[in-house]
């Protein structure tokens, strides 16, 4: 099954061609879904779908570097990225920027995901108002922002 229609692929390819002027890393923390129920272990609801969707997206641009990590095999790396829940997606330039998506980025979240790819490629706060960038540069404390949403 494909997530993206021909039209989606065309529109996204054009957008990526225009906006992804530098490489973007998409690091997906996933785990194999065996179909076996293991007591006490959370089953990944959408790992398979998220892997498929990310693979489809990555196919659309040479600037997108998709890395898929199995958190069962590489728990140390997952812990380092604070991404032990699956599926988790990190979007960044070369180094971790602290951006995560937990769960399949479907529906409206997919647009946020695409926006984030474009912002990461721009590397200069692309899309944010100048006054926002100014306020962020003046931050004297760490901010951890969690946004809960549902696919609509």
């Amino acid at each position: 099954m494909r997530f993206l229609s021909e039209e989606d692929r065309r529109v996204l390819s054009e957008r990526f061609e225009r906006e992804l002027t530098s490489p973007v890393r998409v690091v997906l923390f996933s785990e194999p879904v065996s179909g076996l129920y293991v007591p006490g272990r959370r089953t990944c609801v959408s790992c398979r779908e998220t892997e498929a969707l990310m693979t489809e997206v990555a196919e659309l641009s040479d600037s997108i570097r998709l890395e898929i990590l199995n958190v069962r095999e590489q728990p140390d790396v997952a812990a380092e990225w604070e991404a032990s829940l699956t599926p988790a997606i990190a979007v960044c330039g070369e180094d971790d920027a602290g951006v995560r998506f937990l769960g399949l980025p479907a529906g409206y979240e997919f647009f946020s995901f695409v926006e984030t790819l474009a912002s990461a490629a721009a590397g200069d706060g692309h899309g944010l108002l100048p006054e926002t960038v100014e306020k962020l540069e003046a931050l004297d404390q760490d901010l951890d922002i969690k946004v809960f949403s549902t696919p609509t």
């Binding site: 609801v45 959408s46 829940l85 960044c92 920027a97 602290g98 951006v99 995560r100 998506f101 937990l102 769960g103 399949l104 980025p105 479907a106 979240e109 946020s112 984030t116 912002s119 990461a120 590397g123 200069d124 706060g125 944010l128 108002l129 006054e131 926002t132 960038v133 306020k135 962020l136 540069e137 931050l139 404390q141 760490d142 901010l143 951890d144 922002i145 969690k146 946004v147 809960f148 949403s149 549902t150 696919p151």
Partner: protein
């Protein structure tokens, strides 16, 4: 915002898939924003108000926007 500042981490969470997390943070409506595991507000805001609501909350000032007032999680959250 996280891409611009090394001090900002941003996590977008699918509330259905991570219902335990959503329950932990009293998520009844979306979008729900949690700041530093303490401040919360519900509803999308235009960028300037979004930024100001967050900054004013963590600085301990009363948020000025009426549409998106951030309140402490533990202090009786609005429904």
């Amino acid at each position: 915002m996280a891409l611009v500042s090394g001090r900002v981490r941003s996590t977008s969470i699918e509330a259905h898939e991570f219902s335990e997390l959503a329950g932990h943070y009293d998520v009844y409506a979306v979008p729900k924003i949690i700041v530093n595991d303490h401040w919360q507000f519900t509803g999308a805001l235009p960028e300037p108000q979004f930024v100001d609501t967050i900054l004013e909350a963590v600085r301990g000032a009363e948020p000025e926007v009426s549409s998106g007032e951030a309140t402490p999680l533990s202090g009786g959250s609005p429904a």
